[in-house]
């Protein structure tokens, strides 16, 4: 499994700056690692208004348990919502700060 390092933090802002298809291989490694998290408690997105408005949420502890909202923020940009979740996972997995965006 890819091991996240403090230097990887500076790669994350690329997520917002580039189209997905243009992501560097280095960023892809980081993203893949951030996606390798257990389902229980995994951060997800809820499209409260499909294709328009998004909220950050968290999976339940067991199969069939409700998804719970993380906070009150509303996003109209799906990629921005996704970035917030990736940052949460980064902090959770590494305990390290992120580079300024």
């Amino acid at each position: 499994m890819y091991q996240l390092t403090p230097d990887d933090a500076k790669l994350l802002p690329e997520f917002l700056q580039r189209e997905r298809k243009d992501f560097s291989l280095e960023l892809r490694c980081v993203l893949n690692r951030l996606r390798l998290v257990p389902i229980a408690g995994r951060e997800v997105i809820v499209a409260v208004e499909p294709n328009k408005t998004y909220r950050l949420a968290r999976m339940g502890a067991h199969r069939g348990q409700p998804v719970g909202y993380i906070d009150d923020r509303l996003f109209t940009d799906h990629k921005r919502a996704e970035y917030e979740i990736l940052k949460m996972r980064w902090r959770r997995l590494t305990g390290l700060p992120l580079a300024a965006e």
């Binding site: 993203l31 996606r35 390798l36 389902i39 997105i45 809820v46 499909p50 294709n51 348990q65 996704e82």
Partner: protein, 765 residues
């Protein structure tokens, strides 16, 4: 969701009675109207949601109430004279798949509300236990000293004396490939039941609650039971040994034997001695699964039924929601065939209960038929993989995003699983039922399955191209006669699941001058079965290989509905390349790409396809990933049967790293199986003639239809599709192709293709 429902029958015909089952939450009445769905995609970048009402079919203030669903499978034997009331015993094999999940019932004559009867089960600590209650409220419990192991066969004996109250329990490993285990036993004295439980049903894999309404059963067992033997006495170790060594039919003096090694498609289980009632399987537990004696010498249940006399029960099996009908519409006799819905409205909410109206057998109103992928729609209902599969986010390359209907489905597991899911014990789901709300047929949701197919029906309507709708189920049931009334058959975006009868019908149609437009990707992929007596049920096995969300267990590749080998068509019989020229090569769900025309598009045989189309690149736009070539893509392969005279008119390029070759395309994995680096990761747009003046046009891409509406339908994908449709609808036969007239790469022999690898002639820079 405040209101939800399903059609009594998924597919209706003009003039039919169409009933609907509806459940409401906190709402006492709703309105209903029949609408035709032209486009179900409500996204801003799609064609927009389009429906028209059928004025003659409206209902006002239909009473609404919450309807409950009983989920979980079991087996029931109705009370009768064949079930002993004095001494009674049982010997059976048990394969527990979730022994730690909590209280589960193996067999019972028990009513929970009264604590009456007897019950054999697994307790909170995975111990096999017996409970005896005389209805006074007190329960005698006897447990074995060792827990039952997970996923290991064990023979269990259980008995009690109605007169003396003596209870015995025994367990011995029956794992033919394991190291064995000494017999463990326990005995005690419980209440004397006499005939107090005589009116109770005998149940297996669950017990009765005593309620008149849902839930009527509880304590659902996850795992397999093997042919239970009932005795009119307490079992002995000799009975355990006889069952293990020689099988259930060799246990001495049985009072009943419900043998699971026959009638594999049936929910009725015959009683072999003739002295006790037959049993009824409830909620579709899995059949055609390996039993304790299976040793790999046979892979097919019909070949050696004694190795397959097991039934796999799950606490999340569902055959039929069995809701009461809420209302019906009498469909007009002149109703055009198409995708319809009962549109249910309440203040602040609406719900479309989608169903199909197809032409009556022996009738057609147009020369063009849209073949609705009704079997595929069922296979996808009701998928939970975004919630339950840890790799879905990796596969999508995007954080999972749920819509409100997804959240509802996640929390309402009683609506059952899809063939993409695993049961709660980790085993794959074989079956899907149409008798429940079908989330894969919902409109205004994701552009996938039926909703994506409305891009085609929308385009046909927008371009004024008259068409009938026919269904997979009709082709399955009626064969060639259902297809042969049409000059052209147009598929949906993802006709993935095909039964043998469907495949044979399409082969015969194409062999006799039919014309097929395959406007999708990952089509003709999984061999599927429709239940011979219950057409609302489908079955499949994920055998051998293929892009799949679970693997069939060893020895379980054959479908119990039909006895056919399941899995990919490519691995079980015929590859799709032989039928439509292309077959699945890769999947990916971030970006879709475009096609680049090839010189073959100028060939006189196929010039009509690109008439009026300028430029080399087509389909670099669209509402599914931004291109016409994407999501799941197919390519030509002469090895797998693409006709040598086929013309590859265009080929996609520039797929992303999120695309990966399907397993059958790369028998061993290596670093260059992604869309950026793989040698053959592309969709082929292909044309070839069939005997009798017929033809096939294939796009090999799920996202094709998402490009049809771009720029007000004035785009090259729309133009190509219309060019093909109009030519295919023209009765003028396609001339037989000249010898050697196909794309050069298709004309090589099998040996030549081997040389290809050495020459690297596909590695063009």
């Amino acid at each position: 969701m405040k209101i939800i429902g399903y059609p009594a029958e998924l597919i209706r015909r003009p003039g039919d009675r169409a009933g609907f089952m509806v459940s409401t939450d906190g709402i006492t009445a709703f309105d209903a109207e029949l609408v035709r769905i032209h486009c179900g995609d409500s996204r801003e970048n799609g064609p927009g949601f389009k429906e028209t009402a059928v004025e003659s079919c409206r209902r006002k203030s239909v009473p609404g109430r919450k309807q409950e669903t009983e989920i979980g499978s079991c087996m029931i034997v109705q009370p009768g004279p064949g079930i002993p009331d004095g001494d009674i015993g049982f010997v059976l094999n048990v394969f527990a798949t979730t022994p730690t999940k909590g209280r589960q019932t193996l067999l019972a004559r028990w009513v929970e509300a009264r604590k009456l009867g007897f019950r054999l089960g697994i307790d909170q600590g995975s111990m096999v236990e017996a409970e005896i209650g005389d209805g006074s409220g007190a329960v005698f419990t006897l447990a074995l000293p060792l827990p039952i192991a997970a996923r290991r066969w064990a023979t269990i004996g259980f008995g009690l004396s109605g007169e003396s109250g003596r209870v015995v329990l025994q367990m011995k490993s029956a794992d033919v490939s394991g190291l064995g285990q000494e017999l463990v036993a326990a005995a005690g004295e419980g209440p004397r039941l006499g005939t107090k439980a005589a009116s109770l049903a005998l149940s297996f894999a669950a017990h009765g609650t005593g309620r008149e309404s849902v839930p009527r059963m509880a304590g659902f067992f996850n795992g397999r039971l093997e042919s239970p033997v009932m005795l009119a006495r307490l079992p002995s170790t000799a009975d355990i040994d006889a069952y293990q060594a020689h099988g259930p039919e060799r246990v001495a003096r049985p009072a009943a034997l419900w043998g699971f090694g026959r009638d594999f498609a049936s929910s009725r289980v015959a009683e072999a001695t003739g002295s006790a009632p037959e049993a009824q399987l409830v909620n579709l537990p899995a059949r055609g699964v390996t039993g304790s004696r299976w040793d790999g010498t046979s892979q097919k249940f019909l070949e050696n039924p004694a190795h397959y006399r097991a039934v796999h029960f799950h606490d999340d099996d569902l055959e039929d929601c069995a809701w009461e009908e809420s209302f019906h519409f009498d469909l007009p006799k002149d109703l055009p065939s198409g995708i319809y819905a009962a549109k249910l409205t309440v203040p602040g909410a609406e719900h479309h209960v989608v169903f199909l109206v197809e032409e009556r057998a022996g009738m057609n109103r147009h020369d063009v038929a849209f073949l609705a992928s009704s079997v595929t729609y069922l296979a996808y209902s009701n998928e939970h993989y975004d919630f339950d599969d840890p790799n879905m986010e990796m596969k999508n390359g995007m954080v999972s995003t749920f819509e409100p209907s997804d959240l509802y489905l996640n929390e309402h597991r009683e609506l059952g699983l899809s063939t993409y899911d695993r049961h709660s014990d980790g085993y794959g789901v074989f079956y899907s039922s149409a008798r429940r709300p079908l989330f894969s047929m919902m409109v205004k949701g994701r552009a996938w399955a039926l909703n994506a197919d409305t891009h085609i029906t929308d385009w046909l309507a927008a371009r004024g191209l008259g068409h009938d709708l026919i269904s997979d189920h009709a082709v399955h049931a009626e064969g060639l006669s259902r297809l042969s009334r049409y000059k052209v058959v147009v598929t949906g975006t993802h006709p993935e699941y095909w039964t043998t009868a469907m495949w044979e019908a399409m082969t015969r149609y194409l062999a006799s001058g039919g014309r097929l437009m395959y406007l999708g990707g990952n089509g003709f992929y999984w061999r599927t079965a429709i239940h011979p007596e219950k057409p609302w049920l489908i079955e499949l096995r994920r055998a051998e290989t293929g892009a799949r969300y679970w693997d069939s267990e060893a020895g379980e590749a054959y479908m119990n509905f039909t006895g056919e080998f399941g899995g990919l068509w490519r691995r079980s019989a015929v590859a799709p390349q032989k039928l439509v020229g292309v077959g699945t090569v890769a999947t990916g769900f971030d970006y879709s790409s475009y096609y680049r025309r090839r010189p073959e598009s100028e060939d006189a045989r196929a010039r009509f396809v690109f008439a009026g189309v300028e430029g080399e690149v087509v389909g670099d736009f669209g509402s599914i990933g931004g291109g016409a070539a994407g999501s799941e893509i197919d390519r030509a392969d002469p090895w797998l049967g693409t006709p040598a005279h086929a013309l590859i008119l265009a080929r996609s390029e520039g797929h992303t790293r999120q695309y990966n070759l399907v397993p059958e395309e790369t028998p061993f994995h290596h670093p260059t199986i992604n869309g950026e680096e793989a040698e053959k990761c592309y969709a082929d747009m292909l044309f070839f003639e069939t005997p009798g003046g017929g033809a096939v046009f294939s796009t090999g891409s799920i996202s094709w239809a998402g490009s049809l509406a771009h720029d007000g339908y004035a785009n090259n994908i729309s133009r190509i599709t219309e060019n093909v449709l109009l030519r295919f609808a023209d009765p003028a036969p396609f001339p037989a192709p000249p010898p050697g007239g196909g794309s050069a790469e298709l004309r090589r022999t099998r040996i030549d293709q081997g040389n290809e690898f050495y020459a690297g002639i596909d590695r063009r820079v």
